[in-house]
Symmetry: C2
Subunit: 301 residues, 2 copies
């Protein structure tokens, strides 16, 4: 991708934050149809080594001349400039490569807003011909789960023996994971951790969820991971499960966009002063809300 095109792409991505939920994404006509790229959602708790892992995956994809777009939603990710715990990943060599594009998205309070933006950004990178799109989120909260759940494949990265991992299970990550990567596989207790994880998966009937072990900062297990990913895509494309998954995700996106849109219209019609006026009547919360909605519908009719 030439510098001119990169600049155009950057500017387009910057528009995302200001886009209304019922506005159509402004993708130029001279780009590729969206849907060609494979999308990999990578999530997991802080400190599990997600960013180092993404660094290594990207490096290996580039060796095969496959281009990679990275969307980082994790505010603590070095990709977003917010490295914590001192283990800053050296990725200056990645950013000089024209086959790589890195975009960070800030965490916003608005529920659903961030998920919608991240998926829009993936669509844009897809249109701009990136072959693989990696979306990184930190594994807490519903909107992060929504984001990685909107990918073709969801990878949950865990570190052996941390309490975080149990929390990750609780946060519903087990339900969305297609693959668990146990990173830092040289750590003490890693084998035991992997066995425990496999037992939990078996008990919960997630037998088809795979577990791989890596050591990203030693580049160990990465080519096996890449093979697994590529094989997964090949199979899912061939047996139709990829298409089915995307169709279901599209329905979910439409629903979420409709909900965001209707909420926006609600607060366009009903101003803060109206709410305060209604609130001062001293009626119960739910009754006050009902009156507000009735007013919204009346204004609409």
């Amino acid at each position: 991708m030439n510098p001119q095109k990169r600049l155009e792409l950057s500017r387009l991505l910057s528009k995302l934050d200001r886009l209304n939920p019922d506005e159509t994404l402004p993708i130029p006509d001279d780009t590729r149809a969206v849907g060609e790229a494979f999308r990999i959602g990578i999530t997991g708790p802080l400190g599990a080594g997600k960013s180092t892992l993404i660094n290594e995956i990207t490096r290996q994809y580039r060796e095969k001349d496959i281009s990679v777009g990275i969307i980082a939603v994790d505010p603590s990710s070095p990709f977003t400039g917010g490295a914590v715990l001192g283990d800053r990943v050296r990725m200056y060599d990645l950013t000089l490569d024209e086959g790589i594009f890195i975009r960070s998205l800030a965490t916003r309070g608005a529920s659903g807003g961030l998920a919608a933006s991240a998926i829009d950004a993936a669509d844009i990178l897809d249109a701009y011909s990136f072959d693989r799109i990696i979306i990184e989120t930190v594994g807490v909260g519903q909107s992060e789960v929504d984001i990685v759940g909107a990918c073709d494949l969801t990878v949950v990265v865990l570190e052996p023996g941390s309490g975080d991992s149990i929390q990750a299970m609780k946060a519903g990550l087990m339900e969305i994971a297609d693959l668990f990567v146990v990173n830092k596989k040289d750590m003490k207790g890693a084998d035991r951790f992997i066995m425990d994880l496999q037992s939990i998966l078996e008990i919960r009937n997630h037998n088809r969820t795979h577990v791989l072990a890596t050591s990203a900062n030693k580049s160990e297990g990465i080519s096996e991971l890449l093979d697994w990913l590529e094989n997964y895509f090949r199979q899912a494309l061939a047996n139709g499960s990829l298409l089915q998954r995307r169709n279901e995700q599209r329905i979910d996106r439409i629903k979420r966009a409709a909900e965001t849109g209707v909420k926006r219209q609600l607060w366009e019609k009903i101003k803060q002063d109206d709410i305060i006026e209604f609130a001062e009547k001293g009626l119960p919360v739910r009754e006050t809300a009902r009156l507000l909605i009735n007013g919204f519908i009346a204004k609409k009719g």
Copy 2:
């Protein structure tokens, strides 16, 4: 509270899950007006010792003959029967006390739904004359932040030196905390952790956020914590800040209830088949969503 009344209260709380967002909470006329109780939101990462701390706080309140209602939203909490990591809190003596009522709420996927239910449950315990209401959540995700943010006072419990704590900072807990409790104060590095925490608070201009150290499983620092809480309530009541906070929270609750209500009405009018039919037109997601909303509004008029 007599057994008859307890049973009535239990049944009322069970109705919460089936309540529509625009239905008024069915509180019997012979109860106290809602708003007498002080509400304490307690949150923090898994393993910080929240449940042990709540156990100790409740014990000390009971010694002063102050009644306590506990609402546990944390699925890993021993209050909800889901003790993990083996440190099950012994609270059988609490549950035999008529001045204590414990209610657990399951984590549901629906955004906003859980927060609304938790606050409703607090209103009901308030009406049934509990003096202090403690709401426990695990500190991840927006809905958990919403819940503790709806209390008169928000306590964030941290454990010295864990990576979780940094994650807690990132998750927006610093913004909502009125008090940080560093539990397990005897742990190595606890003093340093407290100093670091205070520095961060200073840098971020949260100078009025206090930090207290406790060791809940040794009952250390609990009476100081209780004094701090009661002093906070006394002052907030006297200088009007409690009333102002509650008024602002009421506006937020009304807004959230209106949003939930309008979404519910949207999906009552528009069925899954309609969505699939619209989706199959192959238009972009946002445009499809806009068409759906327009259909909703047309049906309304």
